[in-house]
């Protein structure tokens, strides 16, 4: 069952990577990176269930924190005169 979930998540990560590569603007790439971080968090949790270990939850904590900090840093950058589109 986790294999099906991992296949769906691989498709989702590929679609987010498409938007990350071809996003027309800086903010589009930031949004795509945020969504990709959430998909990777999903992958890490599914892998933890697949291999029956709780060690990957620390990775999930760090991914969630880094996604938020990166998004807010990019927002400050855009608001302070950085690239908009």
């Amino acid at each position: 069952m986790t294999a099906v979930a991992l296949a769906l998540l691989a498709c989702a990560a590929a679609l987010c990577a498409v938007r990350l590569a071809t996003g027309p603007g800086f903010v589009d790439r930031v949004v795509a990176a945020d969504a990709l971080a959430m998909v990777l968090l999903n992958v890490v949790l599914t892998a933890g269930v697949l291999w029956n270990t709780r060690d990957y939850l620390d990775v999930a904590v760090v991914l969630a924190a880094l996604a938020f900090v990166g998004t807010v840093a990019a927002a400050r950058f855009v608001s302070g005169g950085g690239p908009l589109a």
Binding site: A5, A35, M38, L45
Partner: protein, 99 residues
């Protein structure tokens, strides 16, 4: 308990796939921000609940879920606010008045 864990994992993965489709198919930056702010949070919530049920409880999943529910709207709002302020040529954040 384990089968409910699989159900929650599959629901979370399906919502992540919906988020990926929306990231490609939506045309506007703010529309894609809408996808990245809501649907991915729901997918991560499904995976967190699945992991919580599979491992038989634990505080880490609930802590991550609370953190995500608090910070993802804040990050999306920060980005949307930055776009709106630049688009309407308004001053930036109150604490960064010199830039």
């Amino acid at each position: 308990m384990r089968e409910w864990s699989a159900v929650f994992l599959l629901v979370g993965a399906a919502f992540s796939l919906v988020a990926g489709v929306g990231m490609v198919r939506y045309r506007d930056t703010l529309s894609r921000l809408h996808v990245a702010g809501k649907v991915t949070t729901f997918g991560a919530a499904g995976a967190l609940l699945g992991s919580f049920l599979h491992h038989g409880g634990g505080w880490q999943e609930l802590a991550i879920l609370a953190f995500l529910l608090l910070t993802t709207p804040a990050g999306s709002h920060a980005l949307a606010r930055a776009i709106a302020r630049r688009f309407h040529d308004l001053p930036g954040w109150p604490s960064s008045g010199d830039s």
